[in-house]
């Protein structure tokens, strides 16, 4: 599996997002910033939807690296209990079924679903939706 960047998720099966815990304050952020100020910490695989929207038009390239043929996608902020709220795609859910507070779990999805060897990005899907 090709990931969009190094250091975003753990090698576990299934993987966890890697956050950074500020050594002085204990504050958790995502992704883990480089340097000594933060130590990597595995983030919860489950959380609840904090907010969301639908990206209805194709973002400009660069920086966007998604496919030329654009289909709207959902993006959300997911609250991971006692850690941090992270931004990620929402997957395996119809737009009309998305609602704040819904239970979600981490998954990995292709940036371009049509690609033969796609780049994978973190996403959240309804908890217990599929194996």
């Amino acid at each position: 599996m090709r990931l969009i960047a190094e250091g975003l998720v753990t090698d576990d099966t299934p993987p966890c997002l890697i956050g950074g815990r500020e050594r002085d304050s204990g504050r958790v952020v995502f992704p883990c910033p480089p340097g000594e100020r933060y130590e990597p910490v595995a983030l919860s695989r489950t959380g609840t939807l904090w907010s969301w929207t639908i990206q209805r038009y194709r973002p400009k390239s660069p920086p966007y690296a998604g496919p030329e043929a654009f289909r709207p996608w959902a993006v959300g902020y997911v609250e991971l209990p006692d850690q941090v709220i992270v931004e990620a795609r929402l997957a395996d859910v119809a737009f009309e079924d998305i609602h704040i507070g819904m239970a979600l779990e981490l998954t990995m999805i292709p940036l371009d679903p049509e690609a033969a060897d796609p780049v994978m990005i973190p996403a959240f899907r309804p908890a217990g939706a599929a194996a």
Binding site: I4, A5, L8, G19, R27, V28, V29, F30, P31, W50, S51, W52, T53, I54, Q55, R56, Y57, P59, K60, P62, P63, Y64, A65, G66, W73, V75, G76, Y77, E79, D82, Q83, V84, I85, V86, E87, R89, F95, I100, L111, V119, I121
Partner: protein, 383 residues
């Protein structure tokens, strides 16, 4: 210095798209208009602060206005650039160093959404590759949360846009001056849910110039005294929710730079939100106006639903908001946008608003800008 800093001259180049005229040209146009309004000539200007985000260095306009050797300082401060120029100008007079000077802002942006790159914001490349470097996306997620927490409907968002275009009909400097009905706004294509295309402002062009003077100098010029009672610029506190945020603190989204800038401005002016007769609030999208009504202390979170339904922010309402159509109808040339709000407030306090004039002889006016990454500037004017 004794007395207040006063605004003695105003000028504006119409906002929107002006092919063949650079951003600087539009700034120079505004300065000449402001000089004429104040009844002075360029050599009398003792200092200038100029703001532009994407249209070149403002100080180069001395070549067009006259090589008088004037002190001219350029300001770049995101969406607060114009407010920062104005703040700096009033400090120069308050300090006693100068008696009369200029705050000018202009800009000219390419069409379409602002195109941000991750490295400019100290973010990893993957964040942009995944499609998250989008201001409209952030604004949509931000209002979605606010609507959920405080019971704001999409209809209320549409009322904000509907009011903006109606007010702009009477503002010669506005860009989009045709009324748009509620149904058209609500049924237009979604850009990012819950916002349709009429609910976002667009990057644009324009220029604004304000001439500031000590009270003594203003009296000499014989101008009506429009007093700058407060000008503040503040940055974000912990737990704010800003554009291009891969993560937010738990409990975030509650504290903002606006709250700080606003509270400090009211403290300086010695008055409260209930004393304000009209306000220009940053409305880069409909929800911004909604959230900023509360963040600036004019109502509590959630009360906007009733305020908009009852027309309290209309020209004839209890607190008219964005009387020239705001960013929604004027577009957003970053360097000029905050100064446009103050321009409009001076017009209103002078009673020169024509078809958009706030009735009842208003004596106080408020302006507020907000931008990335969590900056805000507020002014309070009194006549």
């Amino acid at each position: 210095m004794s007395g207040d800093v006063c605004i003695v001259g105003i000028g504006i180049h119409p906002f929107g798209r002006t092919d063949g005229l650079s951003g600087l040209d539009q700034g120079v146009y505004a300065v000449r208009q402001a000089l004429a309004d104040a009844g002075i000539d360029w050599p009398q200007i003792q200092f200038a602060y100029g703001s532009s985000d994407a249209a070149g260095n403002p100080d180069t306009m001395v070549e067009r206005l006259g090589l008088t050797g004037v002190q001219f300082i350029n300001v770049r401060n995101g969406c607060a650039a114009g407010g920062s120029a104005l703040f700096s100008a009033q400090m120069a007079i308050k300090s006693g160093e100068f008696e009369i000077g200029l705050a000018v802002g202009f800009d000219k942006h390419p069409r379409g959404a602002f195109n941000a790159m991750p490295a400019e914001y100290n973010l990893p490349d993957w964040y942009g590759e995944a499609g998250y470097m989008i201001t409209t996306q952030f604004f949509a997620a931000k209002i979605m949360r606010y609507m959920h927490l405080h019971g704001i409907s999409q209809t209320t968002l549409a009322r904000v846009a509907n009011k903006a275009f109606r007010n702009a009909v009477h503002a010669p400097h506005a860009w989009r001056r045709e009324p748009v009905d509620m149904e058209t706004i609500l049924e237009a294509p979604l850009v990012s849910d819950p916002y349709t295309k009429y609910m976002f402002c667009s990057p644009a062009e324009g220029g604004v110039a304000l001439i500031l003077a000590s009270e003594k100098k203003a009296r000499e010029l014989g101008k009506p005294l429009i007093r700058l009672k407060a000008a503040t610029m503040r940055t974000r506190p912990p737990k704010s929710f800003e554009v291009f945020a891969p993560s937010i603190d738990i409990g975030g989204g509650t504290a903002t730079a606006t709250q700080i800038a606003s509270a400090d401005a009211f403290r300086m002016a010695g008055i409260g939100p209930e004393d304000i007769a009209l306000a220009q609030l940053q409305d880069t999208e409909c929800g911004a106006e909604i959230m900023h009504m509360a963040e600036n202390g004019f109502c509590r979170d959630g009360e906007q639903e009733a305020w908009l339904a009852e027309g309290r922010t209309e020209i004839g309402g209890r607190l008219p908001v964005n009387t020239d159509g705001g960013c929604l109808a004027c577009g957003e040339p970053i360097g000029a946008s905050g100064l446009r709000q103050v321009y409009e407030n001076v017009v209103q306090l002078r009673g020169d608003g024509g078809g958009r004039q706030v009735p009842g002889n208003p004596k106080t006016a408020y302006s507020h800008v907000y931008g990335a990454p969590g900056v805000s500037a507020v002014t309070i004017l009194e006549r």
